[in-house]
Each structure stands twice: as structure tokens, then as C-alpha cells.
């Protein structure tokens, strides 16, 4: 395989990178308005990890109990540990309702109440049953419905293409370069607008609920273009990951009434969140679990506790939580209707990501300057809607709602802007990456580097963090980055070269992980999902602000001047108790 000229050149008004909920929703919005859009995705669209979301999608429809957007907003603000930007949250809770009805009209099969309305269930951190659901496959049905709608409106998909570089010059986005995974070869996509919707970065951790595809590709590409990432230190650990596997058992289990118990058989959440018990937000429950485990009260002293569903009865479990039952049975041979299921915290959601304003335009710095034509939505983005901790079911809603808003923003941009010229050598960066992985002289294997990264990230930057651990990890990541330069792949072919894709993804993991570590080291407080044993208190005086981080030649440059947007009269920071 040799470095080569672009095989194809495509000119299309909008390129959407990623075909999860945010990407597809944006593409649909554009296609419905008769705009040309190409979706580049490294997996077939229905394989995207939005489909892994199980429990529900939040909107204050008030179908089963009293509810209002204001209440939804209060819960989200409190859940974010007051780091969420309140203008974004306000827009979000109001648009959420529209998003749901739109979905229903598209044909999403929601579970129903007796009187035929969309059913809603309780969820962690929400003060009213607000999660619209379809059994426990909510993300799956949303993803499939959106994909099908995109087929209806003839959205053009570039299936199994991996974006290798962004074409940004003079703060204007001009397109992307992508590798055709199936046939090999680089393609140039020349576009007026680009949407980055590539999902989260949970793959930096060993125990994670994330799919292999969640390698935070656009994060690596953003850093490479000397642009910042925001709030990367905030990684949500989900309390009910299947022991050892890390795959997700839906929070819907607790929404339906499941218990979490320790070795003594007690529902230990009574010591941590006496009011909400198991339905406290995820960061709270995960810390409680980890504390129990660290104090030797894991089951038989091991690294897990129990999720107990037995009292719900087989009928309810099979009707409302079939996937939970199936996963536990197939992966660890535990029938949850008869036995409790071993669980442990698992890296689940990335609150941080590519910084963007309320119109989803990507930010260049903390002052609100933007990169023209570049947009982001979904888990890849940091708006910041979820602040320091996301509430369950707000992610699907966030991806869909801001996907739609991104579609609208891009549609307007496309109408009033012309194509900008491409940089003089658009393939240089992508070709450089490929040739170093294929023709390099080193002997390192990407698999062993990834294993070391993930193991150590879970160990040193998990639920509980402290300076010593993080400094160790900082050393480690430097070492791994050096070794990455010597990575060489076995597969030199062009056709479906999985080796190449995995090695490329590792490059992204290593770059943004460094930013994650530095951001965590700098933030000397505990807020939401970021908990430091050496600074266990929240510090509103010094830290009610966002982290912006750049990767430079000499290391990571941090900037904490970006203030959190707070409506002081309505939702002032309070102590966060559940």
C-alpha cells in the first residue's frame, strides 16, 4: 500500500460525520429541507452506539404524573452539579417535548399507557416519571426509526468510511478527508459545513459500556487542528455495568424498582442518598458502590455488588426489561428473575467534548469565537448541557434535539455561504498518518498499547481520583504517546483493513486522554462525576467555570476563563443532596 492521490473528490453542501442519533437527526433535518447532505459513518448507521441506550428519553410530557419543563430544567441543572450552561438547558427542556412528538409521528414504537399515550417511567435524578421508553430498547428503536426516515428522504450514506483529517484553514472548515474502509483509498469531501457527531470517548477506559467505535475520533482531530476541548475531566461512570464485561444493564431496572445490595444484603444507598435511594443520579450511586467495594463490602469481598430485581417478578421483568434479563443470562449465566446480578461501575458517558455554542457552532476559544462552518452535536459535543454529570435519558434527548438544531443552523449557513477553497495539499495529514502506521520501522503493537492505556485509565482516573494517581497516569500517557510513534500494523492491504482503523483510533485515544488527565489534575475540587479524594468538596468560588484545553508542542494548555451561564435569580447553586 502506498501513499497516493485522492481516489475521489466529492462536493456536497453538508457532511455529517457519524450516524448515531445526533448525526442522523441533523441529516434528516437537512434532507427534509431539500439540502444536499452526505453522512460519513465508520459503521453501518444502524450499528451506531445510540442503539445501545436502553432506558428512555426524557421529556416533561406529564403523561403519567405532574411535570413541567421548569422542573425538568431544575433537575438537569442540579444533576449537572451547576456546571451546565443554563441557557442551553432551558432551550433543551423546551424543545424536548417537540422532539418526542416528532419522533412519535415518525413512527417510533413507544410503550404505551392504558389510555394510549406515550408511557413514562422514573429515572435517576429526575423528580417525576419523565423517561419515554420502548421496553428497554429505546435507543435502538429511535436509531432505527431515524435511519428509516433518512432512507425515506434519500439521505446519501457513505457507509464504512473513516474520517482521517479535518480540512480547516483560517478558522474556516472546508471539508474532511476520509478513508474508504471497504475498498481502501482516500476521499476528499469538500463542503460548506461539517457536523462532528462521532459520539463519546469511553473507549479510553478498560471497564466501559461503550462500543468499540466510541474512540472519540473527532476529539483527536480537533486537538490536532490546534483547537480546544471542553470539560474533558467529566466522565460518567454508570453504576450498573455488568461485572467484568462493563456492558450496560439499563438504569430502567432501578427505574422499575430494582435494589442494589452489598455483601451484607443491605440496600446501602440508604447511607448515601436516603431520599432517592437507588434512584439517585449515577455519579452518586457509582461512588456509593465503589465506597462499599473499597471498604470490603463487595460481594464476598470482590469488586462487585448486586443488582436485585427478583421482587419485581418475572412477568414485569420480561415485559419491561427483556434486554436486561437477556444480557445477564447470556453473558454471565445469571437469571435475574431468580438471582441477583453482579454489577460494578463502568465508564459510560462523556460530558466533555468539542466545545460549541447554543447553535452548535464549534468554538475556537473561551470567548465565544467560532470556526466557520464547523458544527458538533451529541456526545462528541460539549454545549455544556450536562455539566459535570448527565442525568439518565437526557443523552438521547440531547443528541436528538441538538442534532435537529444543528441541522437547522447548518441549513441556514449553507444558504448564505459559498464554498471555500480547499487547502493546497488536503491529503498531506491523512497520508502522513497512514504511511507512519504502514511503513514505520517500529515494532509496537497497537493492541498492547491500548490495553495499557485502558487498564491504567480505569485504575487511576476512575470513580475516585487523587493527585498521586493522576500524576502516575500523566507519566504513563507520555510513555504511551512516545511508543505510539513506533506502532506498525500487520495488515498492509487496502480492503477492509481493520488493523489500520484500530491503530488510527488509538492515536485519537492517546491524544485526548492526555487532555482528560491534565484537566482532572487542574480541577482541584469534586463536582459531579469528577471526584477527588484530596479535594472532596465542591468549590463554587474558584471552580464554577469550564475547562478549555489545547494540545501544544510542549503539553496541554488550559484555560479556565469560560464562565458557566447561570440564571442566578432562578437556579442558583445549592448543596446537591438526594
Amino acid at each position: 500500500m502506498k501513499v497516493e492521490e485522492a481516489k475521489y473528490y466529492h462536493q456536497v453542501d453538508t457532511v455529517v460525520v457519524g450516524a448515531g442519533l445526533a448525526g442522523l437527526r441533523a441529516a434528516l433535518e437537512l434532507a427534509r429541507n431539500n439540502q444536499a447532505v452526505g453522512v460519513i459513518t465508520k459503521v453501518y448507521p444502524t450499528r451506531s452506539h445510540s442503539g445501545g441506550a436502553q432506558g428512555g428519553i426524557a421529556a416533561s410530557l406529564a403523561n403519567v404524573a405532574e411535570d413541567s419543563p421548569e422542573l425538568h430544567m431544575f433537575d438537569t441543572v442540579k444533576g449537572s452539579d451547576y456546571l451546565g450552561d443554563q441557557d442551553v438547558i432551558e432551550l433543551f427542556v423546551n424543545e424536548a417535548i417537540k422532539t418526542i412528538y416528532e419522533f412519535e409521528h415518525m413512527g417510533v414504537p413507544f410503550s404505551r399507557t392504558e389510555d394510549g399515550k406515550i408511557n413514562q417511567r422514573p429515572f435517576g435524578g429526575h423528580s417525576s416519571p419523565r423517561a419515554c421508553f420502548s421496553a428497554d430498547i429505546t435507543g435502538h428503536v429511535l436509531l432505527h426509526t431515524l435511519y428509516e426516515q433518512c432512507l425515506k428522504y434519500n439521505v446519501h450514506f457513505f457507509n464504512e468510511y473513516q474520517v482521517f483529517s479535518l480540512l480547516i484553514k483560517d478558522d474556516i472548515s472546508r471539508g474532511v478527508v476520509a478513508w474508504d474502509i471497504r475498498n481502501g483509498g482516500l476521499h476528499i469531501f469538500h463542503s460548506k459545513t461539517v457536523l462532528l457527531a462521532t459520539g463519546g470517548y469511553g473507549r479510553a477506559f478498560k471497564i466501559t459500556s461503550n462500543s468499540f467505535a466510541n474512540s472519540g475520533d473527532s476529539l483527536g482531530l480537533i486537538l490536532e487542528n490546534k483547537l480546544p476541548l471542553e470539560d474533558m475531566e467529566f466522565v460518567q461512570f454508570h453504576p450498573t455495568g455488568l461485572y467484568k464485561h462493563g456492558i450496560l444493564l439499563s438504569e430502567a431496572a432501578r427505574g422499575e424498582g430494582a435494589y442494589i445490595t452489598n455483601d451484607k444484603g443491605e440496600r446501602f444507598m440508604k447511607n448515601y442518598a436516603p431520599e432517592k435511594m437507588e434512584l439517585a443520579p449515577r455519579d452518586v450511586v457509582s461512588r456509593a458502590e465503589q465506597t462499599e467495594i473499597n471498604n470490603g463490602r463487595g460481594i464476598n469481598g470482590q469488586e462487585y455488588v448486586y443488582l436485585d430485581l427478583r421482587h419485581l417478578g418475572a412477568k414485569k421483568i420480561m415485559e419491561r426489561l427483556p434486554q436486561v434479563q437477556e444480557l445477564a443470562l447470556k453473558y454471565i449465566k445469571t437469571d435475574c428473575t431468580l438471582e441477583p446480578v453482579p454489577i460494578q461501575p463502568t465508564a459510560h458517558y462523556s460530558m466533555g467534548g468539542v466545545p460549541a455554542n447554543i447553535k452548535t457552532e464549534v468554538l475556537k476559544n473561551g470567548n465565544g469565537d467560532i470556526i466557520k462552518g464547523l458544527y458538533t452535536a451529541g456526545e462528541a459535543s460539549c454545549l455544556s448541557l450536562h455539566g459535570a454529570n448527565r442525568l439518565g435519558t437526557n443523552s438521547l434527548q440531547g443528541a436528538a434535539t441538538f442534532g435537529r438544531i444543528a441541522g437547522k443552523s447548518m441549513s441556514e449557513f449553507v444558504k448564505s455561504n459559498a464554498y471555500e477553497s480547499l487547502p493546497s495539499n488536503p491529503l498531506e495529514v491523512a497520508n502522513g498518518k497512514i504511511s507512519s502506521l504502514v511503513e514505520g520501522s517500529g515494532k509496537e503493537k497497537h493492541a498492547s498499547l491500548r490495553e495499557e492505556l485502558q487498564k491504567n485509565m480505569t485504575k487511576f482516573l476512575g470513580v475516585f481520583r487523587n493527585e498521586k494517581d493522576m500524576l502516575t497516569m500523566k507519566q504513563k500517557i507520555k510513555e504511551l504517546q512516545d511508543r505510539y510513534k513506533k506502532v506498525i500494523i500487520d495488515d498492509k492491504g487496502k480492503i477492509y483493513n481493520l488493523d489500520l482503523i484500530e491503530a488510527f483510533e488509538l492515536g485519537n485515544l492517546l491524544v485526548f486522554s492526555e487532555v482528560l488527565i491534565e484537566g482532572s489534575l487542574a480541577r482541584k475540587e469534586s463536582r459531579g462525576a469528577h471526584y477527588r479524594t484530596d479535594f472532596p468538596e465542591r468549590d463554587d468560588e474558584n471552580w464554577l467555570k469550564h475547562t478549555m484545553a489545547w494540545k501544544t508542542e510542549t503539553g496541554v494548555k488550559l484555560d479556565h476563563s469560560k464562565k458557566v451561564i447561570i440564571y442566578w435569580d432562578r437556579y442558583p447553586p445549592q448543596e446537591r443532596k438526594y
Binding site: V43, Y44, T46, R47, S48, H49, G51, G52, L61, I100, Y101, E104, H105, M106, G107, P109, F110, S111, R112, T113, E114, D115, G116, K117, I137, H140, H144, T145, E148, Q149, L151, K152, N159, R182, S211, F212, A213, I247, L248, P322, Q323, E326, L327, K330, Y331, I332, K445, A447, S448, I489, D490, D491, K492, G493, K494, I495, Y496, N497, L498, D499
Partner: protein
């Protein structure tokens, strides 16, 4: 975790190098509770990086990793190797689809067939302000069919497809069922017109392979039969 030595055969094929697929044998040590995907990862990461396959979510919901192991179509991520106790593993790509490389098959036609049955709600009534009402009973008509993850295991297992590549296949027909039997849909006649075709539903000879292959245990054949009855009622 106790380790275990295993021997397995994988059907390999690199179109740049070989004219035909060939069997390659591997020997390795894995955890006893490994899944087929764990084994493939182990080979790809530590033995031969050039082995290609599809995988993504690891939790049996994305549908990427459908493969044929010892004659059965399965999802690699959710199938433990001890399911094939005492037997040597024989891993090959899904039958009935063209091979791209190693265990990766071309599913473009599969998705194209899905497009043809108009897999979206067709509405001829005005939209309500809020949601359409649908009773739990009406929802339960389609509850099982929406579990489909489009992994292709069913369509790939269908002898009718092996002999006739233009046959719509069980996955598309199930999707047609999912919409025709959705109480909100007004497009049944359009879809029936599409599937009431010699290459449509009538190539289904009730062989039941699809049901056996389905990793989500959907009663696909039963739903296809319901469709047949509906079509006969409508067209005669």
C-alpha cells in the same frame, strides 16, 4: 479465571491476494468464559493483525458481528465458546452474502431490500398536536418485531435466498410486518403491493431457518405467515 487451550479454523480471504477463500487454523489460550468475539479479538490483536471482522457494541444490540460458527448463524459478541463444547470451532462469514474480506460480508443489498419495503410510517391522516393514540394491545402486536437489530443472520440462513439473491428475505419482510401491523400506519396497501411479488413474500417456503438463526428469538416465520394471510385477504 481458568485458561483453556483451543484450536479453531477460520475462513480467510483477502481478495488482493487470493482467488478463493481458504481455511486457516489457529491455536491459542483463552479464558474459559470467552465469547467468540473475544477469541477473534485475541487472534487479531496478538496473533495475526490482518484478520478482519465487524464488531461494535459487544452487547448484542448493534448487529455488526453476525457470523457462522459450526454451521450456525450467531452473534459473536454474545455467544460463549463453551456453547460448542468439545467441538473444534469453525468460523466463517455469513453465507449468502458476497465476502469483502475474511469475515466481512457485503450487506449493501440487504439494506437496499429494506429500503424497498418503505420502512417508515406512511400517514394519510393529519398529525395530532400530541402523540397518536395507540393502546398497549396495539403496541404489543409489533412489540417483538421491533427487537430486530438487522444483523442479517436470518436472511443469510434462508435457503430461498441462497438460490435467489433477489428474494427480499426474512429481515425485510419482518420490517414490512412491523409497519403494516402498526396501528398508526396508512401505507399497508403500498407495502403489500411491494412484497406481493414472486421475489417478495412468495419465495418464503416456511422453512423456519430464520427463526432458528435469529439471535433475538423473534418468531419471524410466524409474522411472515400473518403477512401472507393479510395479503391473500386483500388481493382476492
Amino acid at each position: 479465571m481458568a485458561k483453556q487451550k483451543i484450536k479453531l479454523k477460520i475462513l480467510r480471504y483477502t481478495p488482493e491476494k487470493q482467488k478463493k477463500p481458504y481455511w486457516s487454523t489457529y491455536q491459542l489460550e483463552v479464558d474459559q468464559d470467552s465469547t467468540v468475539l473475544d477469541v477473534l479479538n485475541e487472534i487479531h490483536w496478538n496473533i495475526d493483525g490482518s484478520l478482519s471482522y465487524r464488531r461494535s457494541c459487544r452487547s448484542a444490540i448493534c448487529g455488526s458481528c453476525a457470523l457462522k460458527v459450526n454451521g450456525q448463524n450467531i452473534l459473536a459478541c454474545e455467544t460463549p465458546i463453551h456453547k460448542f463444547k468439545g467441538k473444534k470451532l469453525k468460523i466463517e462469514p455469513l453465507p449468502g452474502f458476497p465476502i469483502i474480506k475474511d469475515l466481512v460480508v457485503d450487506m449493501d443489498n440487504f439494506f437496499e431490500k429494506l429500503r424497498q419495503i418503505k420502512p417508515f410510517l406512511i400517514l394519510k391522516k393529519p398529525l395530532p398536536d400530541k402523540e397518536f393514540t395507540q393502546s398497549p394491545e396495539q403496541f404489543s402486536e409489533i412489540r417483538e418485531s421491533i427487537l430486530c437489530i438487522l444483523c442479517g443472520a436470518c436472511t443469510s440462513s434462508c435457503p430461498s435466498l441462497w438460490s435467489n439473491k433477489d428474494y427480499l428475505g426474512p429481515a425485510s419482510l419482518l420490517k414490512a410486518y412491523r409497519f403494516i401491523f402498526d396501528s398508526r400506519d396508512d401505507g399497508a396497501m403500498e407495502r403489500i403491493d411491494m412484497i406481493n411479488d414472486r421475489n417478495g413474500i412468495w419465495r418464503c417456503h416456511t422453512i423456519f431457518n430464520c427463526m432458528e438463526a435469529c439471535p433475538k428469538n423473534i418468531n419471524i416465520t410466524e409474522y411472515i405467515s400473518k403477512l401472507k394471510v393479510k395479503i391473500v385477504e386483500n388481493s382476492i
